[in-house]
Amino acid sequence: MQKVAVIRFPGSNCDVDSLNGAKRVGTDAYLVWHRDIDLKGADAVILPGGFSYGDYLRSGAIARFSPIMQAVQRFAQDGGPVLGICNGFQILCEAGLLPGALMRNARLSFVARPVAVRVEQTDTAFTNRYRKGDILRMPVAHGEGRFAADAATLRKLEAEGRVVVRYVDLDGSPLKDGEINGSLNDIAGIANAEGNVVGLMPHPDRAADPALGNTDGLGFFASVIGWAHAKGVGR
């Protein structure tokens, strides 16, 4: 059975949602405290949403120096699948595992509502159960989700097909300018060049339970199962 480590930082608050999402697709998911130094044989790692270290200094800036993050860095560099959701995405950017940064929302408001995203790239560890063009509904809940990067990085991300999900209207049409949080090119999530590290601001973990009426996010948790086998990653 696939082993999925969900890292719990002080201030994580979606760790159990991620744990439940991973369990629901049949993986052996467990929590790992940020002070641990070992991922306990994980085949995949999830950095969950929340407000690690109270978002002090910058979101994710301090969590990236947690003891467990050294193991996560090595795991990711060896090709291990790592998913960062919301605060987890911010941590991945701060850690340099993904390019760019997440800045204060363009309209200053904390945005907490369901949004739609279009799946742009399915050749990643976390989106291979979707089809290109699929529209997924998932909640966002963030104050600092505006994706920013220099022009060269942005061009590279687009040219290499590393924008994984993009915000769209609920009917799938492009958003009006800067809606939701002002992200460059309406970017909601990106991947590294190898596709094993993915970060996104919307919450697949909050769209992964039939009792809540929306399971659009389950594919993120299920994708990692096929991926690890296909790529021979893990143990």
Binding site: L57, C93, M103
Partner: protein, 82 residues
């Protein structure tokens, strides 16, 4: 020798600074029509044990590069007292 070090962190020029914009609007609303280009960053003060002011400044710059500033979105300025 302990040096008191002041680090100023500002959003990189050209990047949208919604906090700065909001404060600029508020200043304009208060009648301060002369205020423009408001940017909001952070000020960090710390003591650094170093051999010289130059060393303290160098260490502070390393701290900025590694943690205090985000190299993607922020610029910083280091000043050493005395």
């Amino acid at each position: 020798m302990h040096y008191r070090v002041h680090v100023r962190i500002v959003p990189r020029a050209g990047l949208l600074d919604p906090q700065g914009q909001a404060v600029e609007h508020a200043l304009t609303a208060l009648g301060f029509k002369e205020a423009a280009n408001v940017r909001i960053g952070k000020a960090i003060e710390l003591s650094i044990d170093a051999k010289s002011a130059e060393d303290a400044k160098g260490r502070a710059r390393v701290m900025c590069d590694k943690l205090l500033a985000n190299p993607v979105t922020e610029d910083y300025l280091v000043e050493v007292e005395g």
